[in-house]
């Protein structure tokens, strides 16, 4: 379910690309520092976006340093220095990765997931102590998600609700929530991003879920009767496309209202191009 939020690289300016990389490295380094080197394997693009997006709401220019890391020991790279936002994004990355492993272990009893849980357990305990409220809410939402899955909920909107609310919590970054209006915009962005991820993922997983006889809200809502998934996907494409594009349009509108102070090029690239490209790729199955 992770790694859907990417920039559309060919449309990034070189300096934006460099900055994106620097954020990516910054989050990665921060994960290593705070949660142990093994946790860095859980790094994904979504948390890079979280870091870029949240820092875009601060005025101070990003502090870039050159440095090396374990993966690239020889070449010096630009890395965004560890600040509060980077730390938050890296913590969220590890937390969500841990929950994702738990989810996979529960669903598929996979060895990889068990290994992941073992690797992240200590980090998770530490983070749970740091963000007790956020963790409680996230766990509650995951419980709701599981319950809807067990009930075989036949509405994409309803089944996506808990994940939307979960991401809402992730985007409601406390230091930026002083102002009620800004908080509601942040939450609305998070909600719509979560919704978009969940439904895009459901469409992407149709074939897999048919094979594994697993729950998929789209199979339930549009009453898949067996047979070839290709015409089934084609028949629901328009409905899903509307829902996904509408979520993106709401994210874009809310971001415009927030008015980013920096990183605008990257944020806009991701919101208007990267996520739209991803949507179209998933819908056309490429």
């Amino acid at each position: 379910m992770f790694g859907y939020i990417e920039p559309l690289k060919p449309e990034l300016k070189i300096r934006e690309y460099e900055l994106f990389r620097a954020y990516y490295c910054g989050v990665c380094k921060s994960i290593g520092k705070r949660c142990g080197q093994l946790s860095r394997l859980a790094l994904n693009y979504d948390s890079t976006f979280l870091a870029i997006f949240l820092s875009s709401l601060y005025e101070e220019p990003p502090c870039v340093k050159a440095g090396t890391c374990l993966v690239h020991p020889l070449k010096k790279r630009n890395i965004i220095a560890n600040d509060d936002v980077i730390r938050y994004a890296s913590d969220i990355n590890v937390l969500l990765a841990y929950y994702n492993f738990e989810d996979n272990r529960h669903d598929e009893h996979s060895v990889l997931a068990t290994a992941g849980i073992l690797a992240l357990r200590r980090a998770y305990k530490k983070l749970k102590a740091m963000y007790p409220l956020k963790c409680d809410i996230i766990e509650k939402r995951l419980g709701e998600l599981r319950q809807l899955e067990n009930e075989k909920c036949a509405s994409m909107d309803k089944s996506a609700e808990p994940f939307g609310r979960l991401m809402e919590e992730v985007f409601a970054y406390q230091p930026l929530c002083g102002d009620e209006k800004r908080e509601s915009a942040l939450r609305w962005i998070g909600y719509n991003i979560g919704k978009w991820i969940y439904i895009a993922d459901a469409f992407d997983d149709v074939e897999k879920d048919i094979r594994q006889k697993a729950y998929n809200p789209l199979l339930c809502q549009f009453e898949f009767k067996g047979g070839d998934p290709v015409p089934f996907k084609a028949s629901i494409r328009e409905r899903v496309e509307f829902c996904l594009t509408y979520s993106l349009s709401e994210i874009a509108k809310a971001c415009q209202l927030l008015g980013s102070r920096k990183n605008a090029g990257i944020v806009e690239n991701i919101l208007y191009m990267g996520m739209l490209k991803k949507t179209e790729d998933i819908l056309t199955g490429t």
Binding site: L8, P10, E11, S155, M156, D157, K158, E161, G164, S184, A185, W188, Y191, N192, K195, R239, V240, F242, C243, T245, Y246, S247, L248, S249, E250, A252, K253, A254, L257, E268, N269, Y272, M273, L276, K277
Partner: protein, 203 residues
């Protein structure tokens, strides 16, 4: 009643300023003074009446773009044919009291087009876009002549189209396509043949 935007000759979602400007121009154009002793005077009167109605509708319903409230997803007032019950639901929707509006709608057995329309607005506020679309679509199917319902449905489509337009304006979908890439490859290949970098040996 015709689509008020069409009557005023402006695009849907125009701002208050644009609506006023279009209205003033049309009033000048159709003003009775211009058509005294003219065979077209009754037509002009009719046109002017239409323009006035359209303008009043848009002004009364606050039916123009409001950039300040991003959650203001198209719920608006309609004074014709409203029972008191639906008026109260509308007030709740307008004030953002979605929970009460939803409880009220769930508590009635009525399933008229208006019920589907308001339920659709409630879903829209919640971010349940698929349900919102199908409910408003149902309202339109049940009462195709209702401008308010069609307007709401239109707005949903306009929103996704605006987003796509913004993406295109930022350069999305205008990059090198596969054909251009192949052409570049072929040209490069032709140039490099002499220096031994040939990867398409036949040309």
């Amino acid at each position: 009643m015709r689509n008020p935007y069409e009557v005023l000759g402006i695009k849907e979602g125009a701002s208050e300023e644009e609506i006023k400007k279009a209205y003033r121009e049309l009033v000048k154009k159709y003003h009775p003074d211009q058509f005294q002793n003219n065979p077209l005077s009754s037509l002009a009167e009719e046109k002017l009446r239409e323009v006035n109605e359209a303008y009043e509708y848009l002004m009364k319903n606050g039916n123009f773009r409001d950039d300040r409230d991003f959650r203001n997803n198209g719920e608006r007032w309609q004074n014709q044919n409203n029972s008191g019950f639906y008026n109260r639901v509308r007030v709740c929707v307008k004030n953002g009291d979605i929970g009460t509006a939803e409880d009220m709608l769930n508590g009635t057995a009525d399933r008229s087009s208006q019920w589907y329309y308001l339920k659709g607005l409630v879903f829209l506020r919640r971010g349940w876009y698929d349900e919102a679309y199908s409910h408003i679509q149902t309202a339109v199917n049940m009462d195709p002549s209702n401008y308010e319902y069609r307007d709401a449905l239109n707005r949903l489509n306009i929103s996704t189209r605006t987003y796509r337009g913004d993406a295109f304006g930022r350069g999305y979908g205008r990059g090198a396509d596969l054909c251009t890439i192949c052409q570049c490859l072929w040209c490069t290949d032709c140039c490099c043949e002499m220096s031994g970098g040939d990867c398409i040996s036949c040309c």
